[in-house]
């Protein structure tokens, strides 16, 4: 089964995350600039303030999800408020356009 990891992180974590993916043999990631607020955001005039974050999307096999989450937790540093969040989403299928491979082989 394929899963998509969506991780909202501070921009400084992008480089170490790329290193982790390379080490684990994970074939790629997408990065989107994002703004957002959460429960730990600074509040001004009674309103939580938007903060700069990156949204990283990685599609991978279910077997790799837990270890990657652990790696992201380690590099993002637990205990630091506002470090971000990770969501795991089921992916029905993946297709690699160049080879027409689908499923797991399209992402690994």
């Amino acid at each position: 089964m394929l899963r998509k990891i969506e991780a909202f992180l501070t921009p400084s974590k992008l480089e170490p995350l790329r290193e982790v993916l390379l080490k684990r043999g994970i074939e790629g990631m997408s990065v989107l600039q994002a703004q957002g607020w959460g429960t730990r955001s600074k509040v001004r005039n009674g309103k939580p303030q938007f903060e700069e974050r990156v949204k990283v999307e990685i599609v991978l096999d279910e077997d790799q999800v837990d270890s990657l989450i652990r790696d992201i937790q380690n590099l993002a540093g637990s205990g630091s408020l506002g470090a971000g969040k990770i969501f795991v989403i089921p992916v029905e299928d993946a297709v690699r356009l160049s080879t027409r491979e689908s499923g797991k082989s399209a992402v690994s």
């Binding site: 077997d63 652990r70 205990g79």
Partner: protein
């Protein structure tokens, strides 16, 4: 390690406390069936249940006692006595383990069956409660004798067990191999393979992935939910664990991965303390190599008794019953006690811990990860479709959270300790189910 058992104080208990699972000397403890009925009585008072309902909840649905003749390796024949009790089938088929022990009695099996009803109910599993046992000394028996005894016992209780009726599992001195024999005997008699008749089977014959770590994983989740409600951060909190078996070791490993500092653990041969924290895998490797955790490099020796009283944040008794008693409860320093074992806290100790503001996660909730993944194994066996380990773990987490929150809500609302809250939830659900189904005819 001492087995203090349940002494006289338990019989005077008011609606606290769980089951003895590792039998101690019979004369040391009160009749477990009387204890179970007294606990039920106190919870029924709180729930204001009528007499008829009390009788229904307090009477096992079915008790079967069987003779189990076995040909020993010596060529002689010996007849053992076995029991299978179904306390309740109101919420679904009976569910509960089978134990082999010299102290097994019908009254003990009845009590354990009742406690299984409450455990399954507090977890919201579609099961009633059951238990079985054979009075024997398995440590003096060969594998062949154990197999013949298991098969004959299975054959004797065969009319009342089955995937829709009563689903046994491993318990004291029984294991995955025992369950494989039971499943095979049942299947041969039926004429086709019936994996759903037992849980705790080896994975190769329909067992579930994640079963090994289930109790520890469930325990860990209940601790995390407790921390959240107590507004305590998890990072760096110190954890002491009594017992380094399946529950204790995996709890150490999983919590270490989350950033907890595991500072102490023990087995029956003694314990260790490493104030700066240790790597659970390294200690386990030492344990596997030497048969004891003591002597681990850089660790200070600590007795099982002293381990309980260590300066720590979370204490996980994962060994025997009756470890936290009226004698040592006042010296427990941990803020949270998570009962990985069954019945580690006596009722007297319960009261002391509650008065001292300790947060006790009761056994029927804290160690229910095991029966929950048993439930998943049964579901998979019925479907003959098997889940990934990750799937099992996530579903377990969600059920543990749901159960914890339902007990915590009663704890806050009624201002009772978590144990009583768990019993209120459990007994209340069975009572409600009985009322909805009504009485036949």
């Amino acid at each position: 390690m001492k087995t203090n058992g349940r002494k006289a104080s338990r019989s005077a208990a008011v609606a606290t406390a769980p089951s003895p699972t590792t039998p101690s000397t019979p004369e040391e403890r009160p009749n477990p069936w009387n204890v179970a009925k007294q606990q039920l009585g106190a919870v029924c008072d709180l729930l204001d249940l009528d007499d008829g309902l009390r009788q229904v909840l307090g009477t096992p649905r079915k008790c079967l006692t069987v003779a189990v003749p076995v040909r020993l390796d010596s060529g002689k024949t010996r007849v053992f006595t076995g029991h299978r009790v179904q306390h309740s089938t109101t919420r679904g088929p009976a569910k509960g383990g089978i134990r082999y022990h010299p102290d097994v009695t019908l009254d003990e099996v009845k009590a354990l069956a009742m406690w299984m009803t409450w455990k399954c109910s507090v977890m919201g599993l579609p099961y009633g409660g059951g238990k079985g046992g054979i009075t024997c000394d398995p440590k003096s028996m060969s594998q062949g004798e154990l197999e013949r005894m298991t098969r004959r016992y299975t054959s004797e209780i065969l009319p009342i067990i089955g995937p829709e009726k009563d689903i046994p599992a491993p318990d004291v001195n029984t294991n995955a191999q025992t369950m494989a024999w039971l499943m095979d005997t049942y299947s041969v008699n039926k004429g086709y393979t019936v994996p759903g008749v037992v849980t705790g089977k080896p994975v190769q014959v329909g067992g579930s992935l994640g079963r090994n770590t289930a109790t520890a994983r469930g325990l860990m989740y209940t601790v995390l939910y407790a921390l959240k409600h107590l507004n305590l951060p998890q990072t760096g909190l110190r954890v002491a664990i009594q017992g380094y078996g399946n529950a204790g070791y995996f709890a150490a490993k999983l919590m270490h991965e989350l950033g907890f500092k595991i500072i102490a653990c023990s087995t029956s041969k003694g314990g260790i303390l490493v104030s700066k924290g240790f790597d659970p895998d390294a200690v386990n490797a030492h344990y596997q190599r030497t048969g004891s955790v003591t002597g681990y490099k850089g660790a200070e020796a600590v007795s099982n008794e002293d381990l309980l009283e260590l300066e720590c944040d979370i204490l996980l008794p994962c060994a025997l019953e009756g470890q936290i008693t009226g004698r040592n409860a006042a010296r427990i320093k941990a803020r949270i006690v998570g009962e990985g074992a069954n019945g580690p806290t006596t009722p007297e100790a319960d009261r002391v811990l509650f008065e001292n503001g300790k947060f006790v996660i009761p056994d029927i909730l804290a160690n229910a990860g095991g029966v929950t993944v048993s439930y998943f194994e049964w579901v998979q066996s019925l479907q003959n479709y098997f889940w990934t380990e990750r799937d099992v773990n996530l579903r377990l987490r969600d059920l543990m959270e749901r159960a914890f929150e339902s007990v915590y809500a009663v704890h806050k609302e009624r201002k009772v300790d978590m144990r009583l809250a768990a019993y209120v939830v459990a007994v209340g659900r069975v009572a409600e189910a009985h009322t909805l189904r009504g009485l036949y005819p």
